[in-house]
């Protein structure tokens, strides 16, 4: 009756005890056709130890109520291994049939601050049949106190997918970049796969990836501990299914030392990313006034001005295709050689580094030293504590084409490490060329087709304030150094970081339209979110550039070279499209820029997404002027004037739509002369076929005041037409790919996260580039239109964090996957961000300012604008104006009408509007495979994927609920790899999702709690609010 144990692993090191209890099952499938019932039992496995429950005969709702199964394990296993639960149907005469499995990641239990128990109903998952009933499981971990002895593990290091300092924490030190990569043979490509069942193969793969993720996380954790940190923020883990050469799991993140804020933290709430840490530091009234302070000791803000760093520059370096020679392996370990000379791939940018001149201050040098001591001064964060970001230079990116079948030793990570090392060095040198010592909003990605792999990395070159770095901290020698230092102006991040006299590339500079003291570029491209202190005029919108390029089918080096040659042109064209579309919307800056280039056998797809805004600090964008190449042709001129009119109309319409009414400039009263706002800006189309010419063209952008678009051939006409085809969202809708929409601040609590996937089959084999572009553009536009339609009941609403991913899964297929969240906002409230708010930097908040977000919360949930008169409610549900978007706190849901299902909200953002995250329960990182051999019966490939995605959501929700959480923030679907063979009635899909499990409470609840726990602070809050 008692479960059997086969302890194999030696237990001389035993830092912990894992305990699991199998309570019950429900909704099990019928396994015995004769009786319409099931004789179920459960195997619980951890590492190499397995326990079994008794068979619960003849029931679809078995009550095992097992004893506690105890696993004595070492810490390394605890981190690497998942708890594996298998539900089987007992069969006396033949082999027991597996019903399905549950993998439980016990990592959240290893952090004292995270979850303490995992308890709840988990879907029983089978890779062939999907979800087959549910099982109720209890899991606990008992850790020994002296865990730190065991240096192989990194128990206790917290991981966050969130790309900002998690709410309810304060960043004491931001240590910087951590990366790791592990390789294994892909079970699907092992010889044994020929003889085992698809189920066994899928399960082997799921288990392997789970193990590798655990190992990766542990190794990254170790690096964090070495750096003296206690957390990884902006943790980004990816899989590369290389095929024959292996399966790679790699991750990057930002190591930090975080400090938990007392639960009575400041009531700064939802709509403003990253204000919470700042407000909490303000235990005493700030010394800083509301006015921006230009400290004499911060001359870095008077640094050289510059415009954005144009994108294609990265590709103006020779395509970094490293040919197949085995000698391309540069180093034997993943540690980078510091002495590697950065490539000067940035055209003229090499001179603008730290030797930029006498303007440099001691502080800046210190910062630079601090950062340059790092191998890679990269940060995966996209939004930052106020004051962290001093200047933003522009986007830096690097791509490289590699051949997977030429990896010398595929089972070892060295080659891939060297590849990434190379790319990162390039990024670093690009940043340097922009006069920046750091890269923020950094991310890496790959695209694989057969043996060709494109590695990509991008980020935003920036200058950071050193006070968050260890070294910087020491300089101030104070525990609360925030007050030791005056804050830079809110517009500071727009000011150019490079030397005006020694610019890395020609650019149009102007004096900042906000402070009038520093130079700003005419356009700014970044990969980060709009800093909370950044002032925008009007609202933003999603801007996408889409591009298809056909290529010949080829093999090996020829193929790689062809791709390498195409990449710079693609980047250039994407960039031009972005620039033109930005101007068409009368905007001057892009945030959250993400450029994806996906490779297929006979084409390359490029998709650039960003959120356009009008930064108040930057000059007004010029219009677009069309000119024909052959003057005198009457027809042509008429045509041109028609197009010109359409363009002008579009710009005018955009201004109205996005409420872009920049204040008229009064030039008198401004100290410095302001350059005439240019009415036109220069845009180029490339007709060149050589990369030399390209770089020249590229860098001359903005140099001349002349017209923009030349119509010299039919292609150009098509391009202009395609510019104008992007439909603006229907009224009541906004869209952006950043966390929130710049210009909207009064979010209400309606939230709907969704994933949508579309695949097109290109049947026409004689497609041209133009034809493909049209198809691809329509695909993306139609997806957006679908979203607007489906979510129309949420109006007024904004689609936030629209994350488009393109892939070419097969020769004639184009796949676009989108994950985003629709959020409602209050239209009637004053949309304008109070001006003072935009100028004041976060670190200097006074009581008066604290009032602002409080009011927002109050208004979003009740008619009263006075927080003090709010009624305490104990469940999230009450705050939802949308019947569909209801949610309830754990407590209330458990007692609700017999339903055992907790509502779990999911969002790709780092917060849920109207709520406050009180606890991070741990990272959710799940990988699933689903396969079918009855595709038609499951409703075709759409039916198959539809149910799989729904199942993935269900499993994520179940795990979060079992951890005691009620929401997932920073959720993302990182992979959705679909393979189909309709002729064989088969399909297979792999999905990888991640996010942070959290407990959040309604804002008002939190205030009540606060008032009880921290009377002092609440006093001031309430005073300020009433």
């Amino acid at each position: 009756m008692v479960g059997k144990t086969w302890p194999i692993r030696s237990t001389e090191i035993m830092p912990g005890k894992l305990k699991a209890k199998i309570v019950a099952g429900r909704h099990l499938p019928v396994m015995d056709r004769a009786s319409d019932l099931t004789d179920a039992f459960v195997e619980v496995k951890f590492g190499t130890t397995t326990f079994k429950t008794d068979v619960y005969p003849k029931s679809l709702n078995p009550q095992w109520n097992s004893e506690w199964f105890k696993f004595e394990v070492d810490d390394e296993d605890l981190q690497d291994e998942p708890l594996q639960i298998t539900v089987l149907d007992h069969d006396t005469y033949s082999a027991n049939d597996a019903i399905g499995k549950v993998y439980i990641d016990i990592d959240p239990l290893l952090c004292t601050e995270a979850a303490s128990v995992i308890s709840g109903w988990f879907p029983i998952y089978d890779t062939i049949h999907g979800i087959r009933g549910e099982i109720n499981v209890l899991v606990k971990v008992e850790l020994f106190n002296d865990l730190n002895r065991f240096r192989q593990s990194s128990c206790g290091v917290k991981f966050f997918c969130t790309t900002s300092i998690p709410r309810s924490y304060r960043a004491v030190i931001v240590h910087g970049f951590v990366e790791e990569l592990v390789v294994n043979e892909d079970p699907e490509y092992q010889w044994i796969d020929r003889i085992r069942t698809p189920r066994a193969s899928n399960e082997a793969r799921q288990r392997l990836i789970s193990l590798m993720s655990g190992e990766l996380q542990r190794k990254i954790g170790l690096k964090v501990l070495e750096m003296g940190g206690n957390a990884v923020v902006g943790y980004l883990q990816c899989f590369d299914l290389e095929g024959e050469s292996g399966l790679v799991v790699r991750a990057i993140g930002t190591a930090c030392t975080l400090e938990k804020l007392s639960s009575g933290g400041g009531p700064i709430c939802c709509p403003h990313p990253n204000t919470a840490p700042a407000s909490n530091a303000c235990n005493s009234p700030s010394k800083d006034g509301k006015e921006p302070v230009f400290g004499e000791d911060l001359p870095l803000s008077s640094g050289p001005p510059t415009p954005f760093r144009s994108l294609p520059t990265s590709s103006s370096s020779p395509p970094p295709f490293s040919p197949s020679k085995p000698c391309s392996r540069q180093s034997s370990s993943s540690d980078t050689d510091l002495s590697l000379t950065p490539k000067t791939g940035m055209g003229s940018g090499g001179s603008a580094g730290k030797e930029a001149g006498p303007l440099k201050t001691l502080l800046r040098q210190q910062t630079q030293t601090a950062l340059e001591q790092r191998e890679f001064p990269f940060f995966t964060l996209t939004s930052f504590p106020p004051g962290f970001l001093v200047h933003v230079g522009g986007v830096v990116s690097a791509r490289s084409v590699k051949l997977l079948d030429r990896i010398h030793n595929p089972d070892e990570p060295e080659t891939r490490d060297a590849w990434w090392e190379e790319i990162r060095q390039e990024i670093k040198s690009h940043a340097k060329a922009l006069g920046c010592h750091a890269v923020v909003g950094y991310s890496e990605s790959t695209s694989i087709c057969e043996e060709v792999c494109i590695l990509s990395a991008s980020g935003t070159a920036a200058i950071l304030n050193p006070r968050y770095m260890r070294e910087g901290c020491l300089d101030f020698g104070s525990t609360d150094h925030r007050f030791e230092e005056p804050s830079p102006p809110a517009c500071g991040f727009c000011h150019i970081p490079y030397d005006e006299l020694n610019m890395p590339f020609p650019a149009q500079l102007a004096y900042c339209y906000q402070c009038r003291r520093q130079k700003v570029p005419d356009v700014l491209f970044t990969t980060i979110d709009l800093p909370p202190e950044g002032a925008v005029t009007g609202k933003g919108c999603l801007i996408q550039a889409r591009l298809c390029r056909l290529k010949k089918k080829a093999q090996g080096e020829v193929n790689a070279t062809a791709i390498s040659n195409l990449l710079p042109f693609m980047e250039y064209e994407l960039h031009t499209q972005l620039m033109n579309k930005l101007k068409l919307r009368s905007m001057n800056a892009l945030f959250g820029l993400r450029i994806q280039i996906s490779v297929g056998e006979n084409m390359l797809l490029g998709l650039a997404s960003a959120t356009g805004v009008y930064l108040t600090a930057l000059p007004a964008p010029g219009g677009i002027q069309i000119a024909g190449k052959t003057p005198g042709d009457l027809n042509n001129e008429q045509h041109i004037s028609t197009i010109q009119k359409r363009i002008n109309d579009t710009i005018a319409k955009s201004k109205e739509l996005y409420q872009i009414n920049p204040p008229e400039l009064t030039e008198e009263g401004v100290g410095s002369p302001i350059p005439e706002p240019r009415q036109r800006s220069r845009l180029f189309r490339s007709h060149s076929e050589s990369s030399d010419e390209l770089s020249e063209l590229d860098l001359s952008h903005g140099k001349k005041d002349a017209f923009v678009l030349e119509i010299d051939d039919t292609d150009a006409v098509e391009d202009i037409h395609s510019l104008l085809t992007d439909a603006s969202p229907p009224s009541g809708f906004y869209s952006c790919n950043t966390e929130t929409m710049p210009g909207i601040y009064n979010w209400t609590s309606g939230v709907q996260m969704f994933t949508s996937v579309r695949v097109l089959r290109l049947s026409n084999t004689n497609l041209t580039n133009q034809g493909l572009n049209k198809i691809f553009t329509d695909l993306c536009e139609n997806l957006l239109k679908s979203f607007y339609f489906k979510l129309r009941s949420m109006i007024p609403c904004c689609l936030c964090h629209l994350n488009f991913t393109v892939a070419v899964p097969e020769e004639e297929l184009v796949q676009v996957s989108v994950t985003a969240v629709a959020m409602t906002f209050d239209k009637d409230q004053n949309q304008e961000k109070p001006l003072e708010k935009s100028i004041i930097k976060g670190g200097s908040e006074t009581e008066e300012q604290l009032q602002f977000p409080l009011e927002l919360c109050a208004d979003s949930s009740s008619t009263s604008s006075q927080p003090s008169s709010k009624i305490s409610v104990s469940s999230l549900e009450h705050c939802s104006p949308l019947p569909d978007a209801r949610s309830r706190s754990l407590r209330s849901s458990r007692s609700f009408g017999g339903s055992s299902v907790t509502t779990v909200k999911m969002t790709p953002l780092s917060f849920l509007p109207g709520t406050r995250i009180i606890k991070y329960l741990g990272i959710i990182n799940m990988f699933f495979i689903r396969e079918t051999t009855s595709l038609r019966e499951e409703g075709g490939v759409s039916g198959f994927l539809h149910s799989f995605i729904a199942e993935v959501f269900a499993m994520v929700r179940a795990h979060v609920a079992a951890l005691g959480g009620n929401a997932v923030v920073s959720y993302s679907m990182k992979d959705c790899v679909l393979m189909e063979n309709p002729n064989k009635n088969q399909a297979q899909c792999l999905i990888n999702v991640s996010g942070d499990a959290v407990i959040c409470v309604r804002e008002t609840d939190q205030e009540q709690m606060t008032s009880m726990m921290n009377s002092g602070q609440t006093c001031s809050t309430t005073d300020g609010a009433t």
């Binding site: 695949v759 089959r761 239109k785 607007y788 339609f789 489906k790 339903s899 509502t903 759409s942 994927l945």
Partner: protein, 357 residues
Amino acid sequence: MAVELDVFVGNTTIMDEEVYQLWLDGYTVNDAVKARMEGGVLDKTEATADVLLSDTMDQYRTFQMCERLLHSPSKLANQLLFQIPPHRQAMLIERYYTFDDGFVREVLGKKLSKGTKKDLDDISAKTGVTLKSCRRQFDNFKRVFKVVEELKGPLVENIRQHFLLSDKLARDYAAIVFFANNRFETGKKKLQYLNFQDFAFCAGQLINNWTVGAIDNMVEDMDVDLDKEFLQELKELKVLITDKDLLDQHKSLVCTALRGKTKVFNEMEANFKNLSRSLVNIATKLTNTKDVRDFFIDLVEKFIEPCRSDRWAAADVKLYLTHYTNSAHILDTFKHQVVWDRYMGVIKSCIFKMYHD
């Protein structure tokens, strides 16, 4: 170029009530798209027909996946696959189990068997309800029937709890189950003027008064069968028509009470014996299953039609039946007051309900 795959999945399952209704009504995707376009959904949004098609397909898929859960609604609240707010779950269930009055009228009282299911295409053609919808409705009847058949306790409550239906809908299903179980004839031409709600009302009366569960001990017995003991006791009522003295006495009591109160007094007086014989005969024959089936046809043929041909108003019928019932209490030799009341109470309300054009 063709759309190979197109899916949209929300964390909270998105369901449009309008599309749900079209799906329930058995529209094909294309017909549903047409209907939605005619409904003007595109006018309010800037969407195209493609968008509508894609949305309709998504929702149809979702409904199909949910259908399995709707077959045992309690599962819907406990399943993990779809995150649906409770009030939406209630809507889904209620709508799924809602039926067309036209359809139910056709199968009411029929055996819920495969044979009947085969006739569904005829019913579909006759009622204009799509075959798909007919099948869903028929399967719902059958499913509810099967579940409650084996349960003890009050019928309506059982249905309400097992299928999480509203009280009204649960009562309607109780009527359907009750009719199917007793195989009441409802299809005869003479009964065509009666709608489902008339029958449902009568079923309620029968369930509440003539079943075993009606008297007491609600837990022990089922509501679906008539109380055999009671049916046996009804035979005793025969004395009202076989004992000539009693019959005359009854008549004179009723006539005295009615005189001057109705325009059709003469007809009432003339028909009293016939009508009384009819009602008592119906009572005494109810021990035969065959006669139970003919209960409603008998009421119509033997009582309602004669009254109607004499142009009794509804108020006249009411008046007559009230006095007819009450006068029996004054008959000194008539000893079966309890059975009489139990019988006539139901007969009275059924006839009131059924006495219309």
